[in-house]
């Protein structure tokens, strides 16, 4: 998984340093650190992982091993409006797959990708627990319930 090359600024490194320090530079806190760092940067580019590894005094291979293990962590920047489709069982049996297909079609991207303009990104997630509203789609913080494929266009229109 190679990622887009970025150059970290001094202040970014200072920010990562601060996050690591807030966890006492403890290698056992790696996952908590990565959560915080991802919240700050939006994703976890290789350069950021390198700094984290350095600060926590662990191998960057291990950091990468952890990043690639957990689906919550991403090395690809999310779109400005990240779209997440719940593919939990409740949503699945109520047609989440068709909704997902429609999003793919409308946006012409695959799961895990972002639109070329960086506006939308598409991801699946497992059960947000709003099974009463199945199928559920989240766009950023906003949750849409009982989404059917023909509603997809309308949802996307909200972000024009």
């Amino acid at each position: 998984m190679s990622s887009i090359k970025i150059k970290l600024k001094e202040k970014d490194i200072a920010q990562i340093d601060e996050i690591c320090k807030s966890f006492n530079n403890e290698p056992g806190e790696l996952i908590n650190v990565l959560h915080k760092v991802q919240t700050t940067f939006g994703y976890l580019p290789a350069e950021v992982q390198d700094v984290v590894a350095n600060k926590l005094n662990m191998s960057v291979a291990k950091v990468y091993g952890v990043v690639t293990f957990y689906s919550f962590f991403t090395m690809i920047p999310k779109g400005r409006f990240p779209i997440s489709i719940c593919t939990g069982t409740a949503c699945y049996v109520r047609g989440a797959e068709k909704v997902l297909d429609e999003f793919k079609k409308q946006l012409s991207i695959k799961v895990g990708e972002s639109t070329p303009d960086g506006k939308f990104s598409l991801n699946c997630l497992r059960c947000v627990g709003a099974c009463g509203l199945a199928p559920v789609v989240q766009v950023g913080e906003k949750t849409y319930g009982r989404v059917s494929p023909d509603l997809v266009k309308d949802i996307l229109k909200n972000y024009e």
Binding site: E26, P27, G28, E29, L30, I31, N32, L34, H35, K62, G65, V66, F69, Y70, S71, F72, F73, T87, G88, T89, A90, Y92, V93, R94, L125, R126, C127, V128, G129, A130, C131, G132, L133, A134, V136, T143, G145
Partner: protein, 598 residues
């Protein structure tokens, strides 16, 4: 005289209802009360989940137990003006009984609640989870006080053992015995871990408890700490549960402020504190050894047991891991006694179990029933039966580790062993109901898709075997399966179960095996007849024109995105099967029922 609060308006603040703007409902209600000068007579309380997620957002009016469903922020004014001021219920917001089409005013009379006994969920939808005082008012921390002041650790363990409580997270290991083993492990440091990494797709009971009653988990963990000799607790919680995390953080602060966590709890000299650890999206971390590795900052790969966490767990120290629902049962057991608890349920499974009802069922939601309740009672009485009057086909219990049960299993009492005997399992309590429109081969494939995605990759049968199972199922749903594939499925499933390292792999073929066992005909029709009777498997579907009904209006041909429909005006049309992408547009556009799926 000072006005006394005579009415509580409980607004569900669970994730499901929040997703439907329940926080705005709360704000609107408060606003309306203020406008009408009623702030001192009625108060709005945000609670945890009521369980009846199907019809959320829910507002419940106390003391008359009026249960308003699918409330919108704009309904606040009417509720205040009609109900609070005039005492008239807002009829249109009341729940309608699907059986007799009548409004049900009092939640006590709803079929959904009638059969439930709430122990783990007793405070959910009842108290404000962000207010420790409401928890204290409901016997909160009394059990901890009792244990610390009046019992020895052995006494506490004995009560839990006698109660017959078994782990609610999946395996059903006796909780008291687990505590005892951890107590007996000698070490200078021990840990209590709460497994809140609920990962079953379609299960949300742990989240609801954490959101609706976070203190019960803290109290139970402290009790466990005292019993096993630990002074540190960790809650491993999914990062996907921001609301639960927020409420846990508030609860931990409040408990610390009252001295119910921290040093010298209730003046007994007992120290115990709790920290949060976040999961990061890995289902396998529900397995306790994987969970521990994840808490240590590593890849969440399971390790072979023994050693069990009770002996060698977090940072190599004895660690007691229980899940949220298990912990939620602890304080009531201590308060009311093991006999009270043991009297509920069946001979081999005591107490209650929380289930997340979802799928093609009328009342999607969270329920708690005594062990031994039948599937029929749960699905048809509490769950209100199948949506849109369709026919019940199967119920999947136990999440990706479980199996699909059918009509013939509906009357078995739900408990750990009976479900296993029927080819499924209790799991964490997900219950997905399927109807005649669900293709069981596709359902098995769906679960394998999940397992393949969530396998950690450490052991070869799970890493490669599940992938191959999924591929074979894919072949079958595409209509390219052979009878040999079916025997491969069977052998592979058995070997994966037999050889996988952890519970994930040891159970991942269950959806395949149980659907093969119960829906063999469907497999055969996919493989031999090349037909998917539920009409789910696209490749096996054919859209055809019924010549008798076709009037040649050309609506279908005009709308076909791939132009595979030909025919002159007023002539019978024809669909070219090689080009057809089975999008279904023609079926939708035809006004004359001239298109059929075969």
């Amino acid at each position: 005289m000072a006005q006394q609060i005579k009415m509580h308006l409980l607004v569900c603040g669970g994730t499901g209802c929040r997703a439907s703007e329940s926080d705005q409902i709360q704000a609107s209600l408060e606003h309306e009360l203020k406008v009408h000068g009623l702030e001192n007579e009625a108060k709005v309380v945000t609670t945890g989940c009521f369980g009846f997620c199907e019809k959320g957002p829910i507002v419940k009016v106390i003391p008359d137990n009026t249960f308003y469903v699918q409330v919108k922020p704009g309904d606040a004014r009417e509720i205040v003006e009609e109900h609070v001021i005039k005492g008239r219920k807002v009829e249109r917001l009341l729940y309608t009984d699907p059986e007799n089409k009548e409004h049900v005013a009092d939640s006590k009379h709803m079929g959904f609640y009638r059969k439930q006994i709430r122990i783990a969920l007793r405070n959910c939808g009842f108290i404000d989870p962000e207010n420790v005082d409401e928890y204290l008012a409901r016997d909160g921390y009394q059990a901890l006080g009792k244990v610390l002041s009046e019992m020895t650790p052995e006494d506490a363990i004995k009560i839990i053992k006698d109660s017959g409580l078994r782990g609610r997270g999946g395996g059903g290991f006796p909780t008291g015995l687990k505590w005892e083993i951890t107590r007996k492990s000698v070490a200078e440091k021990k840990y209590v871990v709460c497994n809140a990494d609920e990962g079953d797709p379609g299960a949300f009971m742990d989240r609801s408890i954490l959101e609706g009653d976070p203190h019960v988990v803290l109290e139970a963990m402290a009790i466990c700490g005292f019993a096993i000799g630990a002074d540190a607790g960790l809650i491993y919680i999914r990062a996907e549960y921001p609301l639960a995390i927020k409420r846990l953080k508030i609860a931990i602060d409040q408990a610390r402020n009252y001295g119910l966590l921290g040093n010298d709890i209730l003046g007994t000299g007992f120290n115990f504190d709790i920290e949060l650890r976040y999961g990061a999206g890995a289902f396998v971390c529900g397995e306790e050894t994987a969970l521990i590795h994840s808490m240590e900052g590593s890849r969440g790969e399971p390790t072979f047991k023994p050693p069990f966490p009770s002996v060698e767990g977090y940072l190599g120290k004895p660690t007691n891991v229980n899940n949220v629902e298990t912990f939620a049962n602890i304080p009531p057991i201590i308060n009311k006694g093991s006999e009270w608890f043991a009297a509920i349920g069946t001979a081999r499974a005591k107490g209650t179990k929380v289930f997340a009802l979802a799928g093609k069922i009328n009342n999607v939601g969270l329920i708690e029933v005594p062990m031994g309740t039948t599937l029929r009672e749960v699905i048809f009485e509490i769950g209100g039966g199948i949506k849109d009057g369709k026919k019940f086909k199967a119920v999947q219990t136990g999440g990706p580790s479980g199996g699909c049960l059918t009509e013939k299993h509906l009357d078995i009492p739900i408990e750990y062993d009976t479900l296993i005997a029927a080819g499924s399992m209790m799991g964490s309590g997900g219950m997905i109901v399927m109807d005649e429109d669900d293709c069981m081969v596709s359902v098995a494939k769906y679960y394998l898709d999940f397992t393949v995605e969530e396998s950690c990759g450490k052991c070869s049968p799970c890493r490669i075997g599940n992938k191959r199972l999924h591929e074979i199922l894919e072949t079958i749903t595409k209509g390219q399966g052979t009878m040999e594939d079916l025997s491969k499925l069977k052998n592979l499933s058995h070997v994966i179960k037999d050889t996988s390292l952890c519970g994930l792999g040891q159970t991942s073929p269950n959806p395949v095996l149980s659907t093969m066992e119960n829906f063999w005909d469907e497999y055969i029709s996919h493989v031999v007849d090349k037909k998917c009777t539920s009409g789910v498997c696209k490749s096996l579907m054919r859209y055809v024109i019924i010549p008798e009904n076709c009037i040649g209006c050309m609506a279908c041909a005009r709308n076909c995105p791939v132009n595979c429909i030909t025919g002159e005006r007023k002539q019978v049309h024809f669909i070219d099967q090689d080009t057809c992408i089975k999008c279904g547009t023609c079926l939708e556009k035809c006004k004359f029922n001239a298109i059929a799926i075969i």
